[in-house]
């Protein structure tokens, strides 16, 4: 039963993530005064990528991409969706933080195995960026943990139940602002997309990924969108009363990120890390101090 649950939840997350990506493309097209692709475009893309021939350099590439998707799916299973989850767990935040690293590690491994310098540069930037956003992200999470005295997401989400005024976004607005900026970096959207800069490093990590490897990469990205927006909903928007509510809130958060993505230029990597360590971290520290004392 649990296994079937896990499979269903995984498919759900993948589907939601892909449709979000499609809607995101549509929204940015409208911002450019274009018509834009259909909302199911990402599903078409995935199908095409999966069905075509692909190139691999060695077995690490295969292993890495499978590991990346598995890591993100595992992470997703620990995120409660409006109080539901695939199996009984405490959905510990620290577990989620570290599980997400499997995805990064698998991706990093697969693309550096290709031996393309562009890919390696992209990965070195992505990891530098990761060090940049983990700090403010963790400080915000720390604030949530000490105010609830629990590192369980379910507890944090449940503490906001009831009225809309119980949501953490009203209790810790500074934390929300910092989280919004951090989320932009976590999802690799502009202005924090130096690692996949197509014009400089030929889409960075993805440079050597073809066919199904790119497909797995896109699926990983779709699940990571689901996880990151899901965390945000659980942290600041009460976690949702039912799955549909939850997904709508996620979509709202994702669209904010897409809108920011469309209006900002790109930071250089060291500028991005400096920015993340000064502004979101500073705001998060202020929030933490307000909560702790």
């Amino acid at each position: 039963m649990v296994v079937i649950n896990i499979i269903l939840y995984s498919l759900f997350a993948i589907l939601v993530g892909l449709i979000f990506m499609g809607i995101g493309r549509k929204v940015s097209a409208r911002m450019h005064l274009r018509y834009g692709p259909p909302f199911y475009q990402s599903i078409l893309d995935i199908f095409k990528l999966m069905s075509r021939k692909s190139f691999t350099h060695n077995f690490v590439m295969d292993l890495g991409m499978v590991m990346a998707l598995a890591g993100l799916l595992g992470t997703m299973l620990y995120v409660p969706i409006a109080g539901h989850s695939a199996f009984i767990s405490n959905s510990n935040i620290i577990v989620i933080m570290y599980l997400m690293a499997i995805g990064s590690l698998g991706m990093a491994m697969a693309v550096t195995a290709s031996g393309n310098p562009n890919a390696t540069i992209g990965i070195s930037r992505a990891l530098t960026m990761m060090l940049g956003y983990e700090i403010p992200f963790f400080i915000i999470v720390l604030g949530l943990i000490i105010s609830n005295n629990s590192s369980s997401i379910s507890v944090i989400a449940a503490s906001q139940a009831g009225s809309i005024w119980n949501w953490n976004i009203w209790h810790m607005p500074l934390g929300y602002i910092a989280m919004e900026i951090t989320l932009q970096a976590m999802m690799g959207e502009k202005p924090f997309d130096a690692m996949i800069a197509p014009a400089e490093v030929a889409s960075g990590p993805m440079v050597e990924l073809s066919g199904k490897y790119l497909g797995l990469g896109l699926l990983t990205h779709a699940v990571s969108i689901f996880v990151e927006t899901g965390l945000m909903v659980n942290f600041f928007f009460g976690g949702g009363s039912n799955p549909i509510d939850f997904v709508i809130k996620q979509l709202g958060i994702y669209l904010i990120a897409v809108i920011f993505d469309n209006i900002f230029p790109r930071y250089k990597i060291e500028q991005a890390v400096k920015f993340l360590w000064i502004f979101p971290t500073g705001i998060a520290v202020v929030q933490l101090l307000l909560l702790a004392f």
Partner: protein, 204 residues
């Protein structure tokens, strides 16, 4: 050498593909990613079709950064011999199935550079081309029309130039070698070339 009408020959035959192939062909036709290898002036015509006026993304066609990710190779103008070498390598790095669109007269018969010592006249002799667009330069409408045509060809399974490249590799390879792997001068006039030698120089 008839190359470009390859697809038309096939169309007359009956569509006897399996259902699965039809489904994949549909998905492929709706998600064509292009690598615009900006060789000549044609690259200028791409921004209009990608931005708000013609918006090619509504057909699922988006630009990609590397040949590994791309389905279509766009040759946007004349190809010099040096560029041709890179085009061939890029083409061979693309995973199958893959399609090539050639822009403008230059890629068909050399266009205004037909008698240049370093411009390839017919790109189709070196790599297989699915569709060419006439004009110098083609208007964005023409490009958009070609894209839609290519989508239909992919859907109906007619766009098979990559298959042809595999089947007739010997022919293409011979043409490529003729262009790149020259071992002797082509014209007799090469003997007129002045060769400077150091001893002569130092005597002066």
């Amino acid at each position: 050498m008839q190359i470009i009408n390859y697809a038309d020959e096939e169309r007359r035959q009956e569509d006897n593909r399996k259902l699965w192939d039809k489904v994949t062909a549909y998905f492929r036709s709706r998600s064509l990613w292009m690598l615009h290898y900006c060789t000549g002036c044609g690259a200028m015509e791409l921004p209009p079709i990608m931005t708000s006026r013609w918006d090619i993304e509504r057909f699922g066609i988006v630009p990609m950064a590397t040949p590994r990710q791309a389905d279509i190779l766009l040759l946007t103008g004349y190809a010099s011999t040096n560029t041709m070498k890179r085009i061939i390598r890029t083409y061979e790095q693309m995973p199958e199935p893959k399609w090539v669109i050639a822009f403008g007269s230059c890629t068909v018969n050399g266009g205004m550079y037909w008698d240049s010592y370093n411009t390839v006249n017919n790109v189709g002799e070196y790599i297989p081309i699915d569709i060419t667009i006439a004009g110098c330069m083609p208007r964005p409408e023409a490009i958009l029309d070609t894209m839609v045509k290519l989508m239909n060809m992919v859907k109906s399974g007619d766009a098979k130039a990559f298959q042809k490249y595999k089947d007739n590799y010997g022919y293409y390879k011979a043409n490529q070698d003729k262009l790149f792997a020259r071992t002797a001068p082509v014209l007799e006039s090469a003997s007129l070339k002045y060769v400077h030698n150091e001893t002569e120089g130092s005597e002066q």
